[in-house]
Every structure is written in structure tokens, then in C-alpha cells.
């Protein structure tokens, strides 16, 4: 069974440009999460989808970030326009259920460098 996959694995863009990151969760997982780690900081929660609905987007840093999950399958995270401080690694994760038995599976991350 394929794990959580993310694309692209690495991206280098100029300040002001737009980047779209994609995440394909494990098949059948209704819960999809985005996290990011910027240089020198902790891994931070961005948002949580349950199917196509945003359950919690309290971690989204500002309105330059837009996450979608149309159809409740894959998700995209768009950064527009990108700023230098957006550089870091963006992790996607998914889980099948919520609750104490929940296991969250992470993707390998998308490394974003804004120059």
C-alpha cells in the first residue's frame, strides 16, 4: 500500500512567485493534515481536513496560504505570493480515524526554498 505522497519533493522559487504543493493521502483516509517546519523552528500544524471540509485551519499563518481538498481525495497547498520566511519543509499527513487508536502517517515532505 502506498504511503502519503507529496509533490514536488523540492522547489526553489523567487520571492513573489506562486507555488502549489500537492499531497495524496493514503487511500481511504478521511483525515488530512498539513504541517510545516521553517528553519530553526518546531514542526507546526497548519490545518486539518476531514474529507473535503476544513476541520481546523487555526495554524494557517496568513491569507497568502490557501489549502484545498476538492472531492475529499488529494489536497493542495498554494502559497501566493511566496515570501522568504515561507522557506522550509511542508509535511502532509493522513489518518483513517480520530480518537485514541489514531495513527497519523506522514509524507516525506516538500522542501520549499524562496530566494
Amino acid at each position: 500500500e502506498a504511503g502519503v505522497t507529496q509533490f514536488p519533493s523540492h522547489s526553489v522559487i523567487e520571492k513573489g512567485q506562486t507555488v502549489t504543493l500537492r499531497c495524496d493521502p493514503i487511500s481511504g483516509h478521511d483525515n488530512l493534515y498539513w504541517y510545516r517546519r521553517v528553519m530553526g523552528k518546531e514542526i507546526k500544524f497548519l490545518l486539518h481536513f476531514v474529507k473535503e471540509s476544513k476541520q481546523d485551519e487555526s495554524g494557517m499563518p496568513n491569507n497568502r496560504f490557501l489549502a484545498e481538498r476538492t472531492g475529499g481525495t488529494y489536497s493542495t497547498l498554494k502559497v501566493q505570493p511566496a515570501e522568504l520566511e515561507d522557506s522550509g519543509v511542508y509535511f502532509c499527513a493522513s489518518s483513517q480515524v480520530l480518537g485514541n487508536g489514531n495513527t497519523i502517517y506522514f509524507g516525506e515532505g516538500s522542501w520549499l526554498t524562496v530566494v
Partner: protein, 109 residues
């Protein structure tokens, strides 16, 4: 503010030595705590969760509510244990994870 703290960014030990990676939390009540590990060139993965009280790859972690700690321990470190270790707290039963800053464990031969 509610947070998870890992005071050591780097921990270096020799093979066969005991290892303890520290984690402290500031949440009240009964926290849901986890240890995640990221080996070189691999994805972040769950190592163990406190509710299971399990031992994975020789690692154990005990929740100490009095000291608000969840330290990860292994009596005899192996070279393949070298990795980044993250302590995390789970909110709302499966929702958001709050991570500590991570500790890089290096096990020298």
C-alpha cells in the same frame, strides 16, 4: 502557553550506552503524548504513544504527571537508533499535533 519542550537539540552517545531523550509538556489534565522518529532520508513516523505503554525497538517512555515529563529511554543504544526524535502532544483526540523542537540522537560506534 501550552507547549512541548525538548531541551536538547543534540545528544551524542556511544553504542551500548544508555540514552534518555527529554521531553516536558505544559498541558493540564491527561495529555496524549507521542514520540515520533525520523531516520535519515525517511519520513516522520510514530515510534510510540504513552497510552499503549509499549516498548518499540527497545525504547520506552513513561508519563510522569508530577514532573510533566515524557522522557524517551533505551538502556543500550544502537547505531541504527541515530535519528531525529520528536516529542508531540495530540489535541482533540486525533486532531492537531504540537511538536517539540526535536532532538538529534547520534550513536557513535
Amino acid at each position: 502557553a501550552q507547549r512541548v519542550t525538548q531541551p536538547e537539540k543534540l545528544l551524542s552517545v556511544f553504542k551500548g550506552a544508555p540514552v534518555e531523550l527529554k521531553c516536558n509538556y505544559s498541558y493540564s489534565g491527561s495529555p496524549e503524548l507521542f514520540w515520533y522518529v525520523q531516520y535519515s532520508r525517511q519520513r516522520l513516523q510514530l515510534l510510540l504513544r504513552h497510552i499503549s505503554r509499549e516498548s518499540i525497538k527497545g525504547f520506552t517512555a513513561d508519563l510522569n504527571k508530577g514532573e510533566t515529563s515524557f522522557h524517551l529511554k533505551k538502556p543500550f543504544a544502537q547505531e541504527e537508533d541515530s535519528a531525529m526524535y520528536y516529542c508531540a502532544h495530540e489535541h482533540n483526540a486525533g486532531n492537531m499535533l504540537t511538536f517539540g523542537g526535536g532532538t538529534r540522537l547520534m550513536v557513535k560506534p
